[in-house]
């Protein structure tokens, strides 16, 4: 297979040396910015989740002037706050055989050999610094009576390497980053712009030099210039309408960068999380995740007989199928997410699903409660059990939970090199918004790790190297590129408002979600994907003729905000389907029904598809073109993933 990318912009810039020395080699040769010069540079950070918050804080501490933007009313509300289960690190505190190598290996394997080795190894190396940093900030991780940190295991791993803060790990980590950021706001080194939405990227002389934003309170359009732009805007799971993402999570900032020349990589790689509260009706606005950590103590089962509608306590042990334990004896209930999700779908499709809709399986804690007692289970999962009861009205201490897969995370994102820089110089992409570390499937407790690795420990070095290696002629916010980009952003808003049709944004979004879930969801086929492309095309056409947005552009107006986001989601959805169509193999979360083993597992095609697909925008009305960054595996030989 060719080792050269099909486009000169796709140079991953992996440093030389043995994989364990690459990051050290980079750091020791990277150019530095003199402390007195850092304050002459303004850096824009869009998004204040784990990646953005940690980056803004760390860069401000170094002396850069930071302008931080978020769409929520406070930096503390970014969707990272909702992550439940934990964060991985290769500390090996439990003495169970973990190491940086093993975390690296598990992540590459878990990603079904579609991630870049160099990036993943760095992530594993940095994982330990993250835990140190967070503990020093006062993040209250779970502790043993010794006063030392506790760990638990997570799907896809046979060691206990997950640090956690009850079922609210994301909240506590984000508050750590947010507090570090607020400290620098107080010190005058970060200017915070809450309730501001990025509408476009300003590119001047080939470099990212600013953004156009809308003040979501007044509707005013503003221009902000900088020497570099960091996009930390999260994933695009809401393209499915129903997902575990927060309602305001969206792809707009990333999509506008795509249209300015940033390549979008592997858009079809979506993670469908196996343990979510099932859909209960079509009024539903979002889905709620039940942390994967529950699979440590819960056993997944369905009735052995098709159509058995008895309530769970009436089904005797011998008539239950603990299908994960049966099919995957060595990993059991702790198989990776993609495997667990696909198996749940298989059971439901085969008529063994439970609950009113039949679109659910049981997650049963009875054995663990017998073994460990209510108290221990409550210590581990108390808040999750409470949340489940609030939403469903059922008590999981007494009745097995009903769970079903839901869209949770997107591994695809803007293409970045080892420096986290996109194909637009000066535009860096961090956290879930980039594509780099998780391949075709992310392991549990690795999203928090990646967000914080990028923000705390990678970008301070790679951004410095970029600043030191380039000159930055002053660009004025009144200059032509800013004026032109703003005019386009205003044009889009006016166009949306001028349609004046009869169908609401939410209605379109929900329909888009149905198409995406049915045809670009857990099981994908050539015909289905082609159908999705046609249907989305029709819907896009109708959207611009029949959309209805009440209210005006110069006030707070959620309908208008969502109208712009849904327009971008439709375009992205189509690209996801095209990407899934070209990838004629199954890998990780991407399951093409035509490509499976006899046992129904994902069948990769390393010969033809061992590459990252990096899509390039070609203008309105023209199809994007696909470029390939070949993936080479020098340290972990690809094999068929086996969790049996």
């Amino acid at each position: 297979m060719s080792q050269t990318p099909t486009h000169p912009k796709l140079d991953a810039k992996i440093p030389s040396g043995h994989i364990s020395e690459k990051w050290t080699n980079f750091k020791s040769t990277a150019k530095l910015v003199n402390p007195n010069n850092k304050r002459k540079h303004t850096i824009i950070v869009v998004g204040t989740g784990l990646a953005g918050g940690s980056a803004a804080a760390s860069l401000a501490e170094l002396g850069y002037n930071v302008k931080a933007f978020c769409i929520q009313d406070s930096g503390r509300r970014a969707h990272s706050i909702a992550a439940q289960g934990g964060i991985n690190a290769a500390k090996n505190y439990p003495n169970d055989g973990d190491s940086i190598w093993r975390l690296f290996y598990d992540t590459v394997k878990g990603g079904d050999y579609r991630a870049r080795e160099g990036n993943v190894y760095r992530l594993a190396q940095i994982s330990n610094n993250i835990i140190d940093q967070c503990v020093a900030q006062g993040v209250p991780f779970a502790r043993e009576y010794s006063g030392l940190l506790g760990n638990r295991s997570f799907g896809g791993a046979q060691v206990s390497r997950t640090f956690y803060a009850r079922g609210q790990t994301g909240q506590q980590l984000l508050l750590g980053a947010y507090q570090a950021m607020e400290k620098m706001v107080g010190a005058g080194k970060i200017q915070m712009y809450a309730r501001h939405e990025m509408l476009d990227l300003v590119v001047a002389d080939g470099k990212a030099r600013g953004i156009i934003v809308r003040d979501l309170v007044t509707g005013e359009i503003e221009r902000h210039a900088a020497d570099a732009v960091l996009l930390c805007t999260g994933g695009y799971g809401n393209v499915y309408y129903l997902s575990t993402n927060a309602k305001n999570s969206n792809v707009t900032a990333a999509w506008r960068c795509f249209k300015r020349g940033a390549f979008f990589a592997n858009p079809c790689f979506t993670q469908i999380h196996p343990t979510c509260i099932p859909v209960s009706g079509d009024y539903q606005s979002k889905l709620t995740l039940m942390s994967e950590s529950l699979r440590n103590d819960g056993r997944v089962w369905v009735p052995k007989t098709i159509g058995d509608k008895r309530s769970p306590e009436q089904i005797p042990e011998a008539e239950r199928d603990y299908y994960l334990e049966r099919k995957y004896p060595s990993f059991g209930n702790l198989v990776p997410r993609d495997v667990a999700s696909r198996n749940a779908k298989e059971q439901a499709d085969g008529g063994k699903g439970v609950g009113e809709t039949g679109m659910a399986v049981y997650l049963d804690f009875a054995d663990s409660i017998r073994r460990l007692g209510d108290h221990t289970i409550s210590e581990r999962y108390g808040n999750l059990f409470q949340m489940y009861e609030k939403i469903t009205g059922d008590d999981p201490y007494k009745v097995p939970m009903r769970i079903y897969p839901a869209v949770h995370y997107t591994m695809g994102g803007l293409w970045v090199d080892y420096h986290l820089m996109s194909t637009i110089p000066g535009l860096f992409v961090l956290g879930e918004a980039n594509f780099s570390d998780h391949g075709a499937n992310r392991l549990g407790a690795s999203a928090l790790m990646q967000g914080l690795a990028d923000g705390y420990f990678v970008i301070p070095y790679t951004l410095g190297n970029y600043i030191a290696n380039n000159t930055f002629p002053k660009v004025d916010e009144s200059s032509e590129p800013f004026a032109a980009t703003e005019a386009e952003a205003r044009g889009r808003i006016n166009q949306l408002l001028s349609v004046n049709g009869s169908r609401t944004v939410q209605d379109y979004h929900r329909s888009l979600g149905h198409i995406m879930w049915d045809y670009v969801g857990m099981g994908r086929t050539r015909d289905g994907l082609q159908h999705a492309i046609t249907e989305i095309g029709k819907m896009r056409e109708e959207y611009w003729q029949n959309l209805k947005i009440p209210g005006s552009p110069d006030t707070m107006n959620k309908s208008l905000e969502f109208a712009g986001r849904v327009a971008d989601f439709m375009e992205l959805g189509e690209l996801m389907a095209r990407d899934a169509l070209q990838r004629e193999e199954s890998c990780g979360g991407h399951f093409r029904e035509e490509y499976q083993t006899e046992e129904g597992e994902a069948k990769r095609d390393d010969e033809n598809f061992s590459f990252a697909a990096a899509w390039e925008y070609q203008g309105e009305g023209t199809l994007p073109t696909m470029n390939k960054e070949p993936l080479t595996f020098e340290y972990v030989a690809p094999s068929q993933r086996s969790y049996k």
Binding site: S54, H79, Q172, E182, V217, Y283, K286
Partner: protein, 252 residues
């Protein structure tokens, strides 16, 4: 539990801008499923308004799973509504009856200026954190995480305070519109941990001063904050903050 659809009568605070007077407007929402969340019932209302060409009700919301702290509705006089330990987004309509009348208002406090309808500006809470609600550890300076054991009970208590979602329900519930529970939760979280010790005195003084500067009222032990808190943070935090404050002032 019945799945029979309900009709709900709402009285909702509408206000176009801080400079314009607001008023209650009545709406009748048919077709409410008891499994809906309170915010999904508002989605339904807003769809009905949009289809008619009326302006939807603006309300802050995001995660809809009780952790981001965005939602901020006073429901029948109670911030986040009648269910204890539950944010409005996790309040489900099964706790209401067909034909119920429900009054919905924004958080009201001088330190939370009105923006529109049910949306207020809570940035004063961010400024309290910026005044001292952190441990100053620059990135990269941390020792090994296990080099400093922390008593498990202290760590658990710190967590109980750290669970605050910063929604401001405590302020909305307080007759004095005090942010004492919010501020005390952060003071308590950091004071209970050995990592927080070096900045302990300066932190409590600066945060309390900022709270006053923002125009929040004083605490006079009504206890409404604890009752309204969706994370059930104990008012013991405020007692702890007072002790910390006195020690800091006397000791400095």
């Amino acid at each position: 539990m019945s799945d029979t659809l309900m009709t709900i009568h709402l009285k909702v605070w509408r206000q176009d801008a801080p400079t314009q007077p607001g008023k209650f407007v009545q709406y009748t929402v048919p077709g409410v499923n008891p499994h809906m969340s309170f915010l999904e019932m508002f989605d339904l209302l807003n769809e009905q308004l949009s289809v008619k060409g009326d302006i939807p009700v603006e309300f802050d919301n995001d995660c809809r799973e009780g952790i981001c702290g965005s939602c901020s509705m006073v429901i029948n006089g109670m911030p986040h509504g009648p269910q204890r330990g539950t944010a409005a987004c996790q309040l489900h309509m099964r706790h209401f009856k067909d034909g119920d009348h429900i009054v919905v208002e924004p958080w009201r406090a001088a330190a939370f200026p009105m923006i529109r309808d049910l949306v207020v500006d809570r940035s004063s809470l961010d400024r309290i954190i910026a005044a001292g609600g952190y441990i100053s550890t620059n990135t990269g300076a941390a020792p090994d995480a296990n080099s400093l054991p922390v008593d498990k009970d202290d760590s658990d208590r710190a967590f109980d305070y750290a669970a605050c979602i910063g929604c401001g329900a405590c302020v909305a519930a307080c007759p004095n519109a005090s942010a004492s529970l919010f501020t005390a939760a952060k003071v308590g979280h950091l004071a209970l941990l050995p990592q927080g010790a070096p900045e302990r005195k300066r932190r409590v003084i600066n945060m309390v001063e900022q709270m006053e500067k923002e125009g929040f009222g004083d605490c006079s032990n009504h206890g409404e904050c604890e009752a309204a808190c969706p994370k059930e943070i104990s008012i013991s935090a405020i007692a702890m903050m007072r002790r910390e404050y006195v020690k800091a002032v006397v000791g400095s």
